[in-house]
Assembly symmetry: C2
């Protein structure tokens, strides 16, 4: 567990004024890492978001103003090289960047020519997938979400499966289709079958949904056969992102027995471009919900393992204004990230730098705090009013945006957003000569 240090001082200000606004997602206390390029310099490199700017770490590194004792970890098209250096290096980079950006430090503040070389306006930049993701795992760790789904499709009196309170249920996701925020998402097609139909039909998904999630990224992995103990698990985690696990509910309902979701989830998973480090999140640590029954020893944690991250879902019809359709917090999650990682590796499974682990849909106890349209509209029974129309599930042209931030005293440590707009399904003639 990281202790609070100077980089957590809520009173610290930057010489970059846009970073000091109380509602800015990227103050000096945050310093999230990402990968960017610009139209005039298309080479992908590592940057840190600060105020409305991006600090180009590849230039700082080349200038000798930022050094971890390794060559060129920031002149890279992904964060993996930096992440693989481990926790001490993550801390060193943060401390050096915090110092360079502090209002009291003259190095960049008073050197306009240097500032012009190292700062890029976020408005001018293209943000890329920040990491190469060798593996994507998705958990199912919100008790409210699992209860809602169990009530809807199984039995409200026994909504949770017997294993749910004993282990953080998870499954392997599809890493190839993890995309960065802003990537358009094509409505998937597949097999659909209503209960009263004798056979399935082929067509475009009619119940396209979001899943409001966060994800954490592995910095240092573990070797095959060598589990990660729960009390060491956080040392392996580099940081967190917002994650939208787009889901085709009708495809899922038909395909998922007995081996779990497949085509219903593999068409796209969107993540936010900025990775907020665990060190930046440290001040927002909270006690997770009480666990009853007490977990088996390998899942027992000491100390506060939750994080209070405010989350919001916005839905926008074409040509209309975004409407907030859900508000909740990550602090309600039953199973912690450390428990998820300890469970993931307890059988000996290895993890690798860049592995992405989704929290599972984050839902609160009321419809307006749920993390999916499935729950908000109760499988389409209770349509939702948004600016520009009513919705049960997502329609073509709709834009869905997740936002997240930790609220500090006079500042916030924000994740920015993860957003995606739905494109119409492929024309049926595209599905092979046989159609």
């Amino acid at each position: 567990m990281t202790k609070l240090n100077a980089t957590h001082d809520p009173k610290q200000r930057s010489w970059l004024e846009s970073a000091n606004a109380p509602d800015c997602d990227f103050p000096i206390q945050n310093l999230p890492f990402g990968v960017f390029s610009t139209p005039t310099d298309p080479v992908r490199r590592v940057g840190v978001a600060i105020g409305d700017q991006i600090l180009d770490l590849s230039v700082l590194e080349a200038s000798g103003l930022l050094s971890l004792g390794h060559a060129q970890v920031f002149a890279q098209p992904r964060l993996n090289t930096f992440m693989a250096l481990g926790k001490n290096s993550w801390h060193q980079a943060r401390a050096q960047l915090f110092a360079l950006l502090s209002a009291e430090t003259a190095t960049l503040r008073d050197d306009l020519a240097l500032r012009q070389r190292v700062l890029v306006a976020q408005a001018d930049a293209i943000l890329h997938l920040p990491v190469e993701v060798p593996g994507y795992t998705d958990f199912y760790s919100s008790r409210e979400h699992a209860t809602n789904v169990g009530s809807m499709f199984r039995d409200p009196k026994n909504a949770l499966m017997p294993n749910w309170l004993e282990l953080p249920v998870g499954y392997n996701g599809r890493a190839s289709s993890v995309v960065v925020s802003g990537t358009p998402v094509r409505r998937p097609s597949g097999q659909l079958k209503a209960p009263d139909q004798a056979r399935p039909t082929f067509g475009a998904c009619r119940k396209l949904d979001i899943e409001l999630e966060t994800g954490f990224l592995i910095g240092e992995g573990n070797a095959l056969g060598e589990p990660i103990a729960v009390d060491r698990a956080e040392d392996h985690i580099f940081g967190m992102v917002l994650l939208n696990d787009w889901s085709a509910r009708d495809i899922q309902q038909w395909e998922y027995v007995p081996l779990g979701p497949f085509n219903a989830k593999t068409f796209a998973t969107s993540i936010s471009p900025w990775v907020v480090t665990m060190e930046a999140l440290e001040p927002f640590r909270v006690q997770q919900p009480a666990q009853e029954p007490e977990p088996l020893p390998y899942l027992r944690q000491t100390g506060a393992a939750g994080f209070d991250i405010s989350l919001e879902v916005r839905m926008q019809a074409p040509g209309a204004q975004p409407s907030v359709i859900s508000r909740t917090s990550f602090k309600h999650m039953y199973w912690s990230m450390a428990q998820q990682l300890a469970h993931h590796t307890v059988s000996g499974c290895n993890t690798r730098v860049g592995d992405l682990m989704g929290s599972g849909t984050i839902s609160g106890p009321t419809p307006d705090s749920c993390g999916s349209l499935l729950e908000i509209t109760w499988n389409g029974q209770n349509p939702l009013s948004i600016d520009g129309g009513k919705r049960t599930f997502i329609e073509d042209g709709d834009t869905l945006t997740l936002a997240g931030w930790c609220q500090g005293d006079g500042y916030r440590v924000g994740f920015g957003t993860v957003t995606g707009t739905i494109e119409p399904a492929l024309d049926a003639t595209r599905f092979g000569a046989a159609l």
Copy 2:
């Protein structure tokens, strides 16, 4: 679909005599690709198995004796670079190697010095994981296997789930723990719960099992949102391997609802070191079993889409002789590889070079043709006699080996084997300070 050509001539012989034995897995008609090193030259590079030797393609390439018009696709620690060149290049490489190895060709045959540079005895080589696997998907496409499992754990009268005859059921596997044949496999630990227990306990798996599978490897992937049509699917497949999807049945039984297998399968998946190309398998194409009901149009195929690959499972107790415990054939598989790939991508999911797709356990109709101990011993009810003892599931020190080959007229196109020996579980004290 590849047509038969000169490289399929069953009468062709090599100047390398060991390749001409009728029971040799690696005659001139095969030419499977792999990655190897030697104790004296630890650099990993691409080779082809021929007889009892490996032909070092990196040396052939550097000598100008093998050329695809690209620099250094064989002086690589994995096949991905070569595989990404596509089907025409795979064919060109095969044709050039076939010519070089033919008894009539003097280039290598008559140049002893050159032969000493390009040939390495298989007995002296270390074989490595042949591909970097960005994604691993496992299907469930043997009707007999799905029927056995459904009968055992659900209802013998309705053994197949309603979706089983409509689509090739599959799920995302864990790519990080795909290992090459010979890698020891540590018995996993995890949560186990007997039906009469109120809560699970933590311990070593007691029902450790194999799954006899083949896997196919993607050569050319598809872009996100662009499905692969069933009649073009084989063009994307580079070749096949043997695959053992090690499974912890007791962990699986407790964890798998509702999102599918996770820790029960993520501790290791072993594949054979030699990738047999689809072109080498062409003469062994057979009609797949009749599909009733006729699949939806996007899954309809013309022509013979099955392959007659003889498969065998051997189990060996420590200090005893191997016993053959199952014999079957890949030709019984209900869903073809082309159908699996078309289904995998129909929702828009992208695939990448090196993606591994498992067939699912391959079982025949009788216990001695089943691909898992779960089925062979009917969940431990009918112990199996092997040399050195009796078995229900796998014990520590046991070695499990899968073998596969296509029988031609006077020759065979073999896969070699995939093997693994079970190491004892980690001591319980290793599972974190809390234990």
